[in-house]
Subunit: 399 residues, 2 copies
Amino acid sequence: MPYYIGDVIKDYHKLVIRTPEAFGKTGINVKIKTRVEDIDPQQGLVRLSDGAQIPYDILVMATGAEAVRLDIPGADLDGVFVLRNLTDALRIKSYLNEKHCRKAVLIGGGFIAMEMCEALRNLGIETTVAIRGCRPVTRWDVEFTDIIVEELKKNEVYFLPETKFLAIEKGTTHSLVLKTDKGHLDADIILMGVGTRQDATLTKAAGIELGASGAIKVDFRQRTSVPGIYAVGDCCEVFHKVAQRWVHLPLGDIANKQGRVAGQNIGGRPAEFPGVVGAQSFKVFSLEVGATGLTEKEAVKYGFQPVSAMIQGLPVGRPMAQGEKLGVKLVADRATGKLLGGQCIGAKGAIQRIYALSVALWSGLSIEEVGYLDLPYAPPFGGAWDAIHVAAQEITKAM
Amino acid sequence: MPYYIGDVIKDYHKLVIRTPEAFGKTGINVKIKTRVEDIDPQQGLVRLSDGAQIPYDILVMATGAEAVRLDIPGADLDGVFVLRNLTDALRIKSYLNEKHCRKAVLIGGGFIAMEMCEALRNLGIETTVAIRGCRPVTRWDVEFTDIIVEELKKNEVYFLPETKFLAIEKGTTHSLVLKTDKGHLDADIILMGVGTRQDATLTKAAGIELGASGAIKVDFRQRTSVPGIYAVGDCCEVFHKVAQRWVHLPLGDIANKQGRVAGQNIGGRPAEFPGVVGAQSFKVFSLEVGATGLTEKEAVKYGFQPVSAMIQGLPVGRPMAQGEKLGVKLVADRATGKLLGGQCIGAKGAIQRIYALSVALWSGLSIEEVGYLDLPYAPPFGGAWDAIHVAAQEITKAM
């Protein structure tokens, strides 16, 4: 009789209609508003905050990751939210409505912050993105972030780079004021998207080994170092097929796959999770933004010899073009000739290319092959030589 | 000093500003309105219709394919066009304008006919598609053609299946009348898209071997059986990586690639064309339609043991869905577990999936791997489990 313990679920049931009672009928017990205080792998016991002890044969760590709050005064004031889970989303939504928010400040420039910009602007809320660094979504190269910053401006999002955050205080004209080294920012709501961290209390208690990334170390079957304990999702590592090493990549689709693989293994149908290539995407206003594999910087870090090419291609055949742009950057390894990664940006067709490139990375294709891939050419969807081909051939020439 | 001989080019120059004179300046001579009457590979000579003889060291056959006209009375009347090259397109365009055409009949239901439907309807022209068979674009399975026929109807294209074409005559209310076993169809213009054939006169004269498909047999460097003679484009075969045999697949992007490979080899930089996987797409009104690899029928023909799954997926994450549909059909081989092909249809995201599936076919991935591919998940572009994953896992279960 498996147990699920969580607090996210108390809001989640509103959407999926899975109340603890509904789970109960399926033979699954769900405990909400309950913390696991300790794990005892020797005895196969989980100790709960309500004093109960639950014996287990198999334990799955699916603890996710915790959103970080800036360590500044006022970071926990009413009206300051983190961007992490559904509970956060529902709380933010209620707050925006109830308080009739007109002015929002986003601290942090990750892809979720970018998505929030669009959501907030769609509600007509004046939005500022303030970040410590000089550009948002640092996974993407500067050629791409320049375009993204342009898109933010075009949609009247104020972008404030290289900002030091000093404190959040109650405001006068608006409910909050964010004090920075660049001045004071009024806000009805402040959203923090400045990264995640993991609560290592439980893993330490259970003696579960962590990987180099700090997340739980697992094998291809999602088993941790402790017999009988599995881990899935944002709390554990995943094998990166391009980097050929275990990394921490907390993304929803990966978590889903790991959950299924763990479930199969627990259920007695051995399965291995083949790993990932680092495929990722988001939409910000009219822009599709995608990346897959390694950036040049990551490639160097992992011992490759990256060669790259950036092109401005077309998402449609030339005769149909009406000013569309499609930025494609590819990275390959000089030593092996293999594709290492790609980034795409554009109002149309960027994700289409990241789909193809992700499979090319998965399969370990050479950059030369990428230059001749058979893609479903038709003028509404690309040129006879696709932007991918053009970029790949640029690199082939350079090598 | 290479020669190009063609007649398409006389219209093409209007678009690309490459007059014979412009070519001449680059050291390239272009002869227009000239036929090659004979090839003599022994002497390395090409004999032209104007009586001239051109000696060659290297000869490239880039003769394309010729559109077939129905063998019925009146098939060559004024106002009856084939759908083949740019010259045809320009002639059709002029004719539509000059004659103020209000009523068109398309004979044939290939993907170019489908594209023409959209073009004609956009001009406000009443359009009928009449075909001999029972469904259009027979490369796609019936689940897909049903959706396409629905889309035609929705856009007020009259679809007339299982039609016998008897004759075309001059009309009274309209300039033409197409007589069929289902009655008479008035038309201001009739477009025939009923396939292509190859003029074998030259290849026979030169002693160039044809493949099983009837198109010119080439090797991976685009060399024909006759030393010094290359072939590229719709006149020659191409290697199908999934079928593992040489096929005839007359598509523009393939022709482009073959041209480059031949050019490299002729120029002294040996290159091999790796082949194709049969990726293909078109747009018809609001629908993206794509296919890649083999259909079940083709798979059987080539000795595979196909297992297939068709799903109705989503092109976006479930919480963002607003009634969109994405049809995905995958085919795999029971014996090897490999992906053999895929078809996708939908208003959004179909081609994106065909891009990924084409690379998966190129790389010979198993259906099991396709079920766990790392794709760039974000709700505006797909679910955490992509429609591709879902379809692949359906097949994995079935195997």
